[in-house]
Symmetry: C2
Subunit: 606 residues, 2 copies
């Protein structure tokens, strides 16, 4: 059993559920009627325990041992088998899924926050359940009743695992160009059965020894289908064929040809898969032909929020490691007492600056992500149609922010945590360097962060004729106006109000560029725009939390655990607004220059 | 033989030597009288070849094989032995060192730029020669004539290697607290011989099988010496004792007790060393007692510039990898032609933005670093005393910028290069992820980047009563005034002039904080201040280069290789000024908030 490095203080999660967002409001919705607030707390406490006792201790061993590829099969790190069993036993694979198929039926915000624990304890391990339930969720949504009965309960329970097979060697970000083909299987009485041929790459959990079967969901083009994304269909392709009664049949000609040697997440098998090399691979069409991309996108949007969640989870764990170290490691005196004694480095001003950056940053990300999950619950179950629609719009708007900002900012925070450790952080005795390595993939998969910024600018700004975006900005401006001149946070609200103006200014600039034909400025500035909007939303949520915390602080002993927590919230919000948010103004100045050098420079200059 | 990934276009180095800084001016100095411009070009071409043919092909193998620790001895990656031989044969260990002791006697700027090739080709390998010559340089400076004759030629030639032994388990950034002791050796007739006892940690090249002997330079406290840095002395501690005639004697009780398992530079042995475990370790006092820190600092300043150079070297190699990939990898259409055909991703707007960021950023760092080395040559050999003094002041001022900014910014550029690769960059088939891993140590060693910012604020701003700093700002303001309204770069000069004002404003703020007792704001803002000054100096150097390039462009075919290079320079300067430099203005706003939350927050809130 390895050392557990997971050390998350659950207090911020409790604050989100009970003081900031309010899970009790969700429990009033009919599908959650069976749950009480106490149930939710129990679930979260159990998740914390599983993360501490099972997943966390397997993290470093999983990294060191890695996945082994032998004779076409993949062995996961040995400690992962116990983790998988623990996740199965608790029903953790399908927390927010339908109880009819074996899910626990919890609100998405609860599942999301519990998953922050799991990913924070062991990201590589948690890829296996994530892909399994994401896959089954699609079968639940689009499969026939027989498909559902055959696959979904076995996957929600973790008897079988799942994957998403999109990427091909020549089609990465560019999924529409995939070459995997599907042709009707002449030998099958079922018209939904096709012969599959093709190669997939970078398939997470594509092969492993955790389960007796792996159900691939695969994108392929039915012969004769249109080019591009409009001709892509989705297929259920089991590793081992499944008979109608659920019994395992013969191997389905899905061959793992190798695994990648990666910078991080060594315990997560990233596989190259060859389908139909012996012409024996069969897949079951999921839903109508040529609708695969749209279906996959439903899953991908959740996966994007999940990816942002991983950025949060890793950077929060990196922060936990750094704060623990800083309270222990003794070095020279602080700047403000240079002739003094050696102190714990948490007394060094720059270390405090880095720690508060990590604390404020991770808590702001957690607020954004929890809010997004919370809004998913509202969008599904809120009785009032207008409130449902508003929530759905915000989920759409926030999704690219969560995915891109929380993975880039999260990465920079893992880097900062390593810095707090000094040389010890560069060595693998502590997990600081592993968090950095594990985190780096997140800006790439599930649509690169640039793709997210195009999604934001190209799709999300225009939702409902721009009403979603404008409404979000207006709500934040109102919040600023309501609190202008606040005794504790006046400067913060003033900065936030200015920053909202910058976001509106840049969005207006994009419209102008569309109008005057200088559209090249849109992609050049899309990343900066996404970062501005994310920081504005996160600053706003941080200030919401700070106001709640101030109110609560008046009712408790300031030196109590709760009192300290509320004071920390207030300091964190101030720090975020005054030291992180101002980046918006630099991007504004850069935007105003209308610098086109990156477009004008000849290719040969590179 | 591994694949060579080193692929540096030498054109920018040639531009620096011949068009921007002008190495010919240095060659007029008496010590360089034997060199012609053609010599220098030959040296640079040979260095490029060694990097391509020897060091580069050993980079990935060195990472994968790593160092092996067996029975107290360290084996370096097998391919490193040939690299070491090649470096020895070319005299590359001591390019800028005195010819009397076997150095090549070249200008520091030539040595620095050649070392950029070596580090860019194989950072882990090049740690061994760097430490060897840095060590020997100290013996050359402070040893007796006998010490010099015994050690220096054998180290400049690479027959023996060297290390710097500073860090101890409980004394990292905090060198003054080291516990290694030295007591006069009663058995030695030479009063400079001491018995050494202690443990050192994180010693790069502390043990290896490249050479028959390793000469440690070790900091220790002579019994009874004062506490803190003022009681530290420097000792020559050979791994194997050296007789007066240079013959190897008996092992000197220096035991390697282990090596670190690190995030990167796997081929560089990072050792824990135990001196005098059997009471048999002897060291030779170098110079006077209790003067070790000052001596070490002379070497450390060069090592700090060298560390910044590594940040440049790795990020420039990462850029080379990314631009090569971007010209090859085909994916979907660009944003400005979304219904078009698939293209090489170098046609994607965001990829161009990232590539130009890397190009402009690495070239600006190269300009800063080359200028620093160039000024070292001026400071040593310029006949005019005032010019010498001015150069020496600027070297002091620039050193923390080079060390801290080029390692943090360099790291962020390696990250960006990985992003250009997408998923392939996360896998070790390409070296993108290795550059990220190798680079991360640079913000930590040779004084953390925070220590650099304190050095800047605490020591360098006050040099010559502030004249060095004020003079540097005034020169840039004059440069801006002379070019205000420039047809091509008017906006850039305007931004730069504003940014100079911000730097002056922040420096004034520090003085006020010293005066009014709010000194905690100094360390809280020191890092941001360093970044501002570095960006101002780099923007200024980029614009100097752009003006040279524009002048030259008028004399060549714009489509020629030179024409394209000059156009690239102009685009790069514009990009840097308009898209990187504006970060200064965000830091100004953050500074103005006078946010003290990181100081005020109770420790228990973390």
């Amino acid at each position: 059993m390895g050392v557990n490095h997971f050390n998350r203080d659950p207090r911020d999660t409790q604050f989100l559920l009970h003081e900031h967002l309010g899970v009790a409001k969700l429990l009033a919705y009919e599908p959650f009627a069976d749950f009480s607030v106490e149930h939710i707390d129990q679930v979260m406490a159990q998740a914390h325990q599983v993360a501490n006792q099972c997943l966390g201790p397997a993290m470093q061993d999983g990294d060191r041992e890695g996945c082994q590829f032998q004779a076409g099969e993949v062995k996961v790190p040995s400690a992962f088998h116990d983790c998988w069993r623990a996740l199965r036993q608790g029903g953790w694979l399908a927390m927010a899924n339908d109880r009819r198929w074996g899910g626990l039926g919890l609100p998405a915000v609860v599942s999301g926050l519990a998953n922050e624990y799991f990913f924070g304890a062991n990201m590589a391990l948690n890829m296996y359940p994530l892909l399994t339930s994401g896959n089954a969720r699609l079968i639940e949504a689009f499969g026939t009743e027989a498909d559902r009965e055959l696959f979904v309960p076995r996957m929600y329970s973790g008897q079988w695992a799942g994957t998403m097979c999109l990427t091909e060697p020549l089609a990465g970000s560019d999924v529409g160009w995939l070459e995997t083909s599907a042709t009707p299987d002449p030998d099958s009485p079922d018209k939904r059965v096709y012969k599959i041929k093709g190669r997939k790459r970078f398939i997470s959990a594509g092969n492993h020894d955790l389960t007796e079967n792996i159900i691939h969901l695969l994108l392929a083009r039915i012969e004769g289908a249109p080019h591009g994304t409009k001709g892509i269909s989705l297929f259920i392709v089991p590793k081992i064929w499944v008979e109608p009664d659920g019994a395992l049949g013969r191997p389905n000609d899905v061959v793992c040809t190798g695994i990648e040697h990666k910078m991080g997440i060594h315990g997560s098998a990233t596989c190259a898969l060859h389908f139909g090399g012996s012409d024996q691979c069969r897949g079951i069409l999921l839903g109508e032909p040529h609708t695969g991309m749209a279906k996959m996108f439903q899953m991908m949007n959740e996966a994007r929020v999940g990816t942002g969640l991983m950025g949060l989870a890793l950077s929060a764990s990196a922060y936990d490691a750094a704060r623990t170290w800083a309270k222990r490691r003794v070095q020279g005196p602080p700047f403000t007492d240079r002739r003094g004694q050696r102190v714990k480095i948490i007394n060094h001003e720059d270390v405090r600056r880095m720690l508060l950056n990590m604390k404020a940053g991770t808590e702001a990300m957690r607020a954004l992500i929890a809010k997004t999950y919370y809004l998913m619950d509202v969008a599904r179950f809120e009785p009032d149609a207008a409130a449902r629609q508003k929530a759905a719009g915000l989920v759409e708007l926030y999704t690219p922010l969560v995915k891109a900002y929380c993975t880039d900012f999260g990465f920079s925070l893992t880097r900062e945590a390593l810095q707090v450790f000094g040389g010890a952080g560069y060595c693998n005795g502590f997990p600081a360097e592993q968090y950095v390595r594990d985190c780096k993939i997140l800006s790439i998969w599930e649509g690169t962060n640039y793709i997210q910024s195009l999604d934001l600018v190209g799709r999300k700004l225009g939702l409902e004729g721009g009403a979603v975006f404008q409404g979000a900005l207006a709500d934040i401006q109102t919040f600023c106006a309501d609190n202008a001149g606040d005794a504790d946070f006046g400067k913060c609200f003033s900065l936030l109000s200015r920053a909202v103006g910058v976001v509106g200014f840049m969005a207006g600039g994009f419209l102008n560029y569309l109008g005057d034909g200088r559209i090249g400025f849109i992609p050049l500035n899309a990343t900066a725009f996404l970062e501005c909007l994310a920081e504005v939303v996160m600053a706003s949520l941080s200030l919401e939390q700070a106001l709640v915390a101030r109110r609560k602080l008046a009712t408790v002993d300031p030196a109590s655990a709760d009192g300290l927590f509320y004071r920390g919230k207030m300091h964190g919000a101030r720090f975020f607004c005054q030291r992180v948010l101002p980046a918006v103004f630099a991007r504004q100045i850069a935007f105003e220059q209308e610098d086109a050098s990156a477009l004008e420079i000849p290719e040969a200059c590179f």
